[in-house]
């Protein structure tokens, strides 16, 4: 997923670079404020560990191919978001300089696509809430898989948008996304399983290590706030819902296409059967937004979806640790 210089225009490179520089400066300031003698060695050695671990491939069962660790979510789980972000930035810089993985001008894009997305977006908004404060093996594994998939999906979507904005490909955005997202979802799944296995080994061999590491490195690590998480997810969902209908294709979807091929007309003149008439009446009676069009329907749909997700999450969430009653009360 490393973008090379050839894929970015100067405008995109400079804009992404400016955002990356701002994030790196913020991380550096935060780190300097909370600096302990163990901070830098921990980050440096774990960054080197990511490089070394990438040299070991594992066989992907049933495919005959192999993969390796990427390490973004693993670093965030061990170091905390800001320290992991800086460490991944250092790793990406060295990958660019030593292994031609990504270009110097595209470094800002790569920092945003890989380091910022996995450490500053996915880790606090997804890994922490899913893993929970106790970090049981099951929840930690689930968190690792979900986070890796989401990090790679968001990262690959960002790569697509940056490439399209640079104007170097004739591929339309939806088609490009159609190529990138499924591939990266599979890679994310494999990466997630690998991350979960490694965290599992560490947890079994050195149970205290995972708990003490983030305390050693980043004292600013705070428990995730579910309300904040949901607010951010809701804003992103609403923004996507408002934007996606504006770029939706006017061509028929798969079902409509096959119907057209079969009937060779958009509105088959044949009389509908009794079953389809009954189904149509049920749909028209229950549809909230019949003949939906435009951004408003998308926004309303997303809001409904987020509300339902919120209610479900609220219902199944594990009990949040409550404050102990003070003595004498």
């Amino acid at each position: 997923m490393h973008m090379s210089d050839a894929l970015v225009s100067p405008a995109v490179a400079v804009t992404a670079g400016a955002v990356a520089v701002a994030l790196v400066a913020t991380a550096a300031v935060r780190l300097k404020r909370e600096y302990t003698p163990h901070t830098l060695p921990m980050m440096g050695v774990l960054g080197a560990f990511v490089f070394a671990a990438q040299m070991l491939n594992f066989a992907i069962p049933g495919t005959g191919s192999s993969g390796h660790l990427v390490g973004g979510v693993l670093l965030a789980a061990m170091l905390g978001p800001w320290a992991a972000f800086l460490t991944l930035t250092a790793v990406l810089t060295l990958q660019c300089l030593l292994f031609a993985d990504g270009g110097l001008m595209a470094l800002g894009c790569n920092i945003l696509n890989m380091a910022a997305v996995s450490c500053l977006v996915v880790y606090p908004l997804l890994f922490r809430p899913v893993a929970g404060p106790a970090m049981s093996f099951g929840r930690m594994s689930l968190a690792a898989v979900v986070s890796c998939v989401m990090a790679l999906l968001l990262g690959s979507a960002a790569v697509t948008l940056e490439t399209e904005m640079s104007g170097v490909t004739a591929l339309p955005t939806p088609t490009f996304l159609g190529f990138m997202l499924p591939i990266h979802m599979v890679i994310g799944l494999v990466e997630g399983v690998a991350t979960a296995l490694v965290l599992g080994v560490v947890r079994r061999a050195e149970p205290a290590m995972l708990e003490t590491l983030s305390r050693d490195v980043e004292t600013t690590a705070r428990p995730a706030r579910p309300v904040m998480t949901l607010a951010v997810v809701a804003v992103v969902a609403v923004a996507c819902a408002a934007w996606i209908p504006t770029v939706a294709s006017e061509w028929p979807d798969g079902l409509e296409w096959s119907l057209l091929r079969t009937a060779e007309t958009e509105n088959p003149s044949a009389e509908p059967s009794a079953m389809s008439a009954a189904a149509a009446s049920v749909v028209s009676a229950t549809a909230l937004l019949p003949d939906y069009k435009g951004a408003l329907a998308g926004v309303i749909g997303a809001l409904i979806l987020v509300t339902v997700a919120f209610v479900v999450a609220w219902a199944v969430r594990s009990p949040w640790p409550r404050r102990r009653k003070r003595d004498g009360r």
């Binding site: 100067p10 060295l94 110097l104 001008m105 050195e206 290590m209």
Partner: protein, 259 residues
């Protein structure tokens, strides 16, 4: 797998091998500035401006000659970055079929031209970065980036990763040999075995980091460690190099506009 690891270790050794050439003797800051200027000029060229992109290759060729660098190493390094670039550009000939020229009876479409432009741009942009790294070394490059304003903690972190990278790669090689000897075969490891190997490496790395932290605390009082190298002074040759390169790069960019 072992080859990949050995190749990476060999490359790291190659970078820090001291060499002497006019390019090596220049200040790292001057080389960073010229590299960035070249990249901006190269990337600002339209993809279908093949003549301009080909002209731009004069700069890395000059760097290769003046720096007495190995062309095969630079090219091999540059080709490593191509797969994703080619994958993205491969659709251009299929989707953009506007004919632009005819060469020996073969019609060249705009898509083919942009694909060639993309590949050339990829090779050239990596080549200049490789030349920068090979002629400066990572330690000097990072220290000079710090002198250009990169925060000290970021410089120290990059150098810390770089320093321990080689050490941990050596450990991976040992672990790998042990695992292969036990399995009596090479190739990708089963996931469960892989997780144990990487887990052991991770635990060892954390322990090592704690020792390094203690050593730093004892030695430097716990502050951000400074990586010191013999100081280089900005000389007239550096100024001349920057001015001359800027003029040449601008001219090359300008010549393309005239073509």
């Amino acid at each position: 797998m072992g080859d990949k690891l050995l190749g990476a270790l060999r490359r790291l050794s190659l970078i820090e091998t001291p060499q002497h050439s006019p390019l090596h003797s220049l200040d790292g800051r001057a080389k960073i500035a010229v590299t960035l200027l070249y990249l901006v000029a190269l990337l600002s060229l339209p993809l279908d401006s093949l003549a301009g992109i080909i002209l731009m290759s004069l700069v890395p060729i000059a760097g290769w000659a003046v720096g007495r660098l190995r062309g095969r190493t630079i090219l091999r390094w540059a080709l490593l970055s191509l797969p994703f670039t080619v994958a993205v550009g491969a659709f251009n000939p299929l989707l953009d079929r506007e004919p632009v020229a005819e060469v020996a009876g073969v019609t060249l479409t705009h898509g083919w031209i942009t694909l060639c432009g993309l590949i050339l741009r990829g090779v050239l942009s990596v080549s200049v970065v490789v030349e920068l790294v090979l002629s400066t070394g990572v330690y000097r490059l990072c220290v000079d980036a710090g002198r250009l304003g990169v925060p000290a903690v970021v410089v120290a972190l990059v150098l810390m990763v770089y320093r321990y990278m080689r050490l941990l790669m050596g450990e991976v090689l040992t672990l790998r040999m042990a695992v292969d000897a036990r399995r009596q075969r090479r190739g990708a490891l089963p996931m469960r075995v892989w997780a144990r190997v990487v887990g052991v490496l991770l635990i060892g790395s954390v322990r090592r980091a704690r020792w390094v932290g203690m050593a730093l605390e004892a030695r430097a009082g716990g502050g951000v460690p400074r990586f010191r190298l013999p100081a280089t002074k900005w000389r007239t040759t550096d100024t001349l190099f920057v001015v001359f390169s800027a003029v040449v790069i601008t001219l090359l960019r300008f010549v393309d506009c005239c073509l």
